[in-house]
Symmetry: C2
Subunit: 431 residues, 2 copies
């Protein structure tokens, strides 16, 4: 009996592997076609996809109702359930997201460098698509449209693997995107959704290094962690955003109050939300009480070191773990440091290389902070919540990367390209 | 007895891990210092390093004699032994290599993009060093100087692991580089040589993802393959260079003869050497016999498909494996294809995404080849042997990368940097 079950499982696993390989092969082939598709063709496909989403709204709502019903049965609730739900407004927002991607400049074919050698060889470094991008995400149907359209814009084939709760919604949205591809004469396999809820499919994807060039995970810490640990393919992601605001001795109080409050409380659930406030010892007694009063009034809980607690009795004691915790909540860790050097040392040690900000009116101190903090985004006199591709003016982003290779910070259409060298000669041979 | 041995082995392995971790921590700390070192400071360190190499020539020769003696005892001979040997001329070449790196423009601090948002935020994308680079290479002492100086130029800390046969030579060269660092007041730990011949050190390096940001292997196929399979750290490398020359129907015979001969025979042992000749069916009978005569006269063996063999009896039959073999020798595979479409399909299927060249006087055909061949370097009317950072005018290179992320083609000082965003505000908060 055990043997029979085992045999069945093996066969199922082989089937899944074969299915995933077929998806990978089709994606690679589609990527070759997409890589030389004109900007105009891709634009037509995106326009048709947005139109298809608007047209298909009733079908999308129906598919989403099935997802929501079974998620509710499985005990999904609260924020998790809310993320899954589609309504007319959210469908229109998805379509508008595609409109915005459509309007972006084409990131492919940019001449990044162009020079001629003494022997007459002309060398150009030209942007080209990455190839096949695997996107692994949770049960947020809109990521299907966001990621699919951004990959298409940048000439990449996409293999999408959404959370199992959003399976019907994502399938319906994918169908709209593929209708767009068909309308422009592009291969449908350029956007594929993994057609199974089986968890094992993710593990297979992460080992498909022949068929997938880069993996972009979107979701919570546990998803990113699993992907980073298991993937045999390069990953563009950030595990967490332990973002800091450092208040320097030369900070302007009014600016600082506004920025700290915004950095922490504007939206506590985004990766660019501040998690730790560092305050220069020289100014702590003078500025910190006011800043903390603002935060308390806004409903923020505070945890701090002994010096911070001495300045405000409402501050609870912070443990070592607080300096590396991404609360994603109305909680802020507070620490007194010895000037900009102390702040830089704390951030480079405890931070996550995401986004960090300094408040100061001293230009030299600001430049030192910008140079020495080893993070993807370093900010002077503004909120960490600007860590966002849209706020950077880059248009839609597929996420923010904190790794060091290829792309750092917001990953938009441009970051989903690589380059190749075109060398034009007249018969040159190498001496 | 077995237990005692096991315990000893475990202790030794723990010692090695601890030693490697200490190297990693020191490198990370040095990288922080180097990342903000001025161009002038790095230049002084490089100048002092080149001077130290010239001064230490007798000591380098003595260290090298020890390496050569024990390598000879261990049966190393021929090309392997030759690569290991240092002499006055090679030492001077090493020093001159450092001079050339010194003269390169500083790759750090380049403003790659610069724009201002409607809200007044000024955003700059600025190049910064990658961090810590691990270089794993074979017993070529000169790689120690090449890689160490290129990492220093680009503001990166280097952890060097050379082949065990070159241990004394590499140690002596590293000491010269460190003398340069000391002279400029930079931390010595910016260039470290793994101080053991134990093979296990490589395995440990490849898992040190907290301390090493990128691995660059330099050497033969088996080394690269091991590194690519085992590494938990991103790798910049090429496994092989299956480079093609495609001779189109509109090729110029004189240019083509010169380029094919050069691409194959100028140096058969470099990664940019052509391994496969593809010839358009429309022109094969007319051009191929002359081209093959040139090659035969130069001592090149030929393997081809049935059509090629019908045109020249000296062509031996090629098997499927020949299309994916990097001979690195005076051997060329020859295949007749159906025009540029056939050539592109062959190259994208069998090639290694390194360097491929088309010979044609038809501009549209050339542009199609340049666009559709999915390789790091694509060439029109010139030899594949130009695939080299020096020939590109980029100065020294640490290797050629055929992966798609971060760097493609020659990996020089510029490719050993990443970027970060500097955002300058006046108190902006996000709405």
């Amino acid at each position: 009996m055990a043997t029979i079950l085992q045999a069945r499982t093996d066969a199922a696993s082989q089937d899944l592997t074969a299915e995933m390989t077929a998806i990978g092969l089709a994606a690679r082939e589609a990527a070759h076609v997409l890589s030389t598709a004109s900007a105009e063709t891709k634009r037509r496909a995106l326009q048709a996809a947005a139109a298809a989403i608007r047209q298909a709204a009733p079908a999308l709502l129906e598919a989403n109702r099935r997802d929501v019903a079974s998620a509710t049965q499985n005990g999904v609730e609260g924020a998790m359930l809310d993320r899954l739900v589609l309504n007319e407004k959210r469908i229109e927002a998805m379509a508008r997201g595609i409109d915005e991607v459509t309007a972006l400049p084409d990131p492919v074919g940019r001449i990044l460098a162009d020079w001629t050698r003494p022997n007459g060889l002309r060398i150009q470094r030209v942007s080209v698509p990455l190839g096949v991008i695997g996107i692994i995400y949770e049960s947020r149907p809109n990521v299907t449209a966001d990621a699919g359209s951004l990959c298409l814009k940048s000439g990449n084939a996409a293999i999408l693997r959404g959370g199992s709760e959003s399976f019907h919604s994502s399938t319906a949205i994918t169908e709209c995107l593929r209708r767009g591809l068909r309308a422009a004469g592009l291969p449908e396999a350029a956007i594929q959704l993994v057609p199974t809820r089986e968890r094992a499919a993710v593990g297979i994807m992460l080992r498909m290094s022949e068929h997938i060039d880069v993996i972009v995970p979107r979701g919570g810490r546990s998803l990113i962690e699993r992907v980073q640990n298991e993937s045999r393919i390069p990953v563009l992601a950030h595990l967490e955003g332990i973002c800091h605001v450092y208040v320097d001795a030369a900070a302007d109080l009014a600016k600082t109050r506004a920025v700290v409050l915004n950095a922490k409380m504007r939206s506590t659930g985004v990766c660019g939300a501040a998690e730790t406030l560092l305050v220069d010892r020289a100014i702590a007694a003078q500025l910190l009480p006011t800043i903390l009063d603002d935060l308390k009034q806004a409903g923020c809980a505070l945890r701090g070191d002994a010096e911070a607690r001495a300045l405000d009795a409402a501050v609870e004691p912070a443990s070592e773990a607080d300096w590396t915790t991404e609360y994603l909540d109305a909680v802020l860790a507070v620490r007194i440091v010895e000037g900009v050097a102390g702040a830089v040392a704390h951030i480079n040690h405890y931070g996550s290389h995401h986004t960090d900000s300094i408040m100061t009116e001293d230009q030299a101190t600001a430049e030192r902070f910008l140079a020495e903090v080893d993070s993807a985004i370093v900010i002077h006199n503004a909120s960490t919540q600007f860590a966002d591709g849209g706020e950077f003016g880059m248009g839609a982003e597929i996420g923010i990367a904190t790794g060091r290779l290829h792309a750092r910070g917001p990953v938009g259409a441009e970051q989903l390209t690589t380059y190749k060298y075109l060398v034009r000669g007249t018969g040159q041979v190498r001496p």
